[in-house]
């Protein structure tokens, strides 16, 4: 992991903390963040157990507030690690993530053991910080089990920490695990457009599974959020085309809009014929007046 990202995070912390809070963190983290030479052990640098203890103790020393970030800061983070964002985080969460970045990764066995211990002993807010930090940790493959486990978790905040605004799954999840994550997000009624890499990792299998899922919901007299059909456009086939017809017949305007958008993205000629039957919708899609963003809630 780059030292620039540590520095960028520290700058956000610094602009969101009081002097006492910043001092506590500096004392617990490294002696002088940003001044300490990268990779060079300086006297006064924290030991792993000191960092881990500070990770746990953070709420005792930092205020419980939500941080603010400037557009410049947001862009800088995103430049270093695409998709990584700290928007809406609490100060404690951000400070915990920063403390994790201070763990020395040079001894892999030791490093992995320390992170695993934190996972093992974590309460819910600590888990949130740990999963939020995954894109910044060394040895990313080591955390795959934990990450997919978090997707299975029923702890709302923990699930959100791995599923939403987190670039780790896009980069490291297998197709099976990725599809699970997306489906679980839909199942939990959370907005899929907050999943990083949604477009990049779309796949035919997911589109077909989504069709099955929608059929189950329809059979139970329930619906599916309209924007999830954005995952199907490229993969429209006969089965999905029938689903599109079902959507065009829906009483909900959003369903009809979703069908129009999905059909317009489909290479399948039959999808274009279907769309052409709904002149007004076709017009607003083709003119760009209607986009998936209109269905994002």
């Amino acid at each position: 992991m780059s030292d620039i990202i540590k520095q960028k995070i520290w700058e956000i912390i610094a602009s969101n903390t009081s002097v006492t809070e910043a001092e506590w963190l500096q004392q617990k983290g490294v002696s002088m963040p940003g001044v300490a030479m990268p990779g060079v052990a300086t006297p006064g640098v924290a030991t792993p157990i000191e960092l881990m203890t500070a990770f746990v103790a953070a709420p005792r020393f930092l205020s419980k507030k939500i941080i603010h970030t400037s557009d410049g800061e947001k862009a800088a983070l995103n430049f270093e690690i695409p998709g990584f964002s700290v928007d809406g985080w609490s100060l404690v969460r951000l400070a915990r993530v920063w403390l994790l970045t201070q763990l020395d990764p040079s001894d892999k066995e030791e490093y992995v053991k320390n992170i695993e211990t934190l996972f093992d002993t974590a309460e819910m807010n600590e888990l949130v910080a740990l999963y939020s930090a995954l894109p910044l940790l060394s040895y990313p493959d080591q955390w795959l089990f934990r990450a997919t486990d978090a997707v299975r978790s029923n702890m709302g905040f923990v699930f959100d920490a791995i599923a939403l605004h987190n670039p780790y799954p896009e980069k490291y999840f297998s197709e099976l695990a990725w599809n699970q994550l997306v489906l679980k997000t839909i199942f939990n009624d959370k907005p899929i457009h907050l999943i990083e890499g949604l477009e990049n990792r779309s796949n035919e299998k997911l589109a077909m599974t989504l069709s099955d899922f929608a059929h189950e919901r329809w059979a139970a007299g329930r619906g599916v959020p309209a924007q999830v059909w954005r995952l199907t456009g490229k993969y429209l086939n006969q089965t999905l085309l029938a689903d599109m017809q079902h959507l065009f017949d829906s009483e909900k305007e959003e369903d009809r809009k979703a069908a129009a958008l999905a059909c317009s993205e489909a290479p399948l000629p039959a999808a274009q014929y279907l769309l052409a039957k709904y002149t007004d919708l076709e017009k607003s899609v083709k003119s760009g007046a209607l986009t998936w963003a209109d269905l994002e809630h």
């Binding site: 203890t53 002993t121 029923n154 702890m155």
Partner: protein
């Protein structure tokens, strides 16, 4: 149930044996109808109870009797542990599931974290526990290091007691001391002397399970003196009333230490009722059954009385890790002010 308690051999837990078995009158059992009017409007704080071994009925009865908050000290679960994992799971349950379960019955749950004296004697395991303990004592809602101290008064017990005193000092947390059942007087003196030797301010130390023999010295040296109303064994509620009459309310607190032995999670409200019957002033009762515990453990900075002083809102439709306390189609009780006795 206490009528002929001297003939009953209790299940050993906090109170391993009873060398001084009968000192009549020791304890008086009181039924809800006898005392509910006496404690009307009172609220209680139980600073020592092991809810992990109690039932839902207990939580409901405690809430109904006016217990609004409690502290669950980490202790021995009765069964020898086979490894570090069971410690981790137990500690995690104290800040996790058990705290959630308590909240579902309108009771604010805090805990103290520590390696108890009995288990300090398994040194290889104790070493491992000490390594992870710092990761638990700083967690939110942890109000002290406890319960620690002596059981058999072995060198290993002393070693881990001292190490944990240092940990408490470093973390700026109160210390909750479990005093031994055998050779209690000596064990209590030794526990206090060692705490002072480590430079710990006695006003940060709660010495637990006192009796008539130990109380004077504990108070004289500036420590908090906690009393456990544990029917059948050391301290009965009748005797407790006498202690309060003699020493007054300053730095004295009462707890139930209810656990998996024969114990009573309603020991505090019952003792409060008895004190009321004996003409002890309301303010004294309030101090020894509520306020003193908050003052002592509040030094941790982890107790915000606003969380429970006007009752504790309950939403039984909430979930923890996706699990609810409700089973098999049970409907959540309506959300309401859960402090029944207003």
């Amino acid at each position: 149930m206490c009528a002929n308690h001297t003939e009953i051999t209790p299940n050993p837990s906090h109170f391993e044996d009873s060398e001084e078995a009968s000192q009549a009158p020791a304890h008086r059992d009181i039924a809800w109808n006898d005392y509910k009017d006496l404690i009307k409007g009172m609220r209680f704080f139980d600073p020592h109870i092991h809810m992990v071994s109690r039932t839902t009925d207990d939580y409901q009865a405690m809430n109904q009797a006016g217990i609004v908050a409690l502290i669950e000290p980490a202790f021995w679960v009765g069964q020898p542990r086979t490894g570090l994992s069971t410690f981790k799971d137990y500690y995690s349950s104290l800040v996790g599931w058990e705290r959630f379960r308590s909240s579902q019955f309108g009771i604010k749950h805090y805990c103290t974290m520590g390696l108890n004296s009995r288990e300090a004697n398994n040194e290889p395991l104790a070493e491992q526990v000490m390594e992870i303990l710092p990761l638990y004592i700083y967690k939110e809602g942890v109000v002290g290091v406890g319960e620690i101290g002596f059981d058999d008064q072995t060198p290993a017990e002393e070693k881990y007691y001292r190490l944990q005193l240092e940990l408490a000092k470093e973390a700026k947390l109160p210390v909750q001391i479990h005093t031994p059942h055998r050779d209690k007087k000596k064990g209590t003196e030794r526990s206090m002397a060692i705490a002072l030797e480590h430079g710990i301010d006695p006003s940060w130390v709660i010495v637990d399970h006192n009796n008539e023999e130990t109380v004077k010295s504990v108070l004289d040296q500036g420590f908090w003196a906690a009393f456990t109303i544990y029917p059948f064994t050391k301290m009965g509620n009748e005797r407790m009333v006498k202690v309060v009459e003699q020493y007054g309310p300053e730095r004295i607190m009462i707890n139930s230490a209810a656990d998996w032995g024969i114990s009573d999670p309603l020991a505090i409200p019952k003792t409060a009722a008895l004190m009321k019957m004996r003409g002890i002033p309301d303010e004294t009762i309030r101090l020894v059954t509520y306020q003193n515990a908050i003052d002592a453990f509040g030094k941790s900075g982890q107790i915000d009385v606003a969380d429970f002083e006007s009752g504790y809102a309950v939403d039984q439709s909430e979930k923890f890790h996706g699990n609810s306390i409700l089973r098999g189609g049970q409907q959540p009780a309506p959300v309401k002010d859960f402090l029944v006795i207003n």
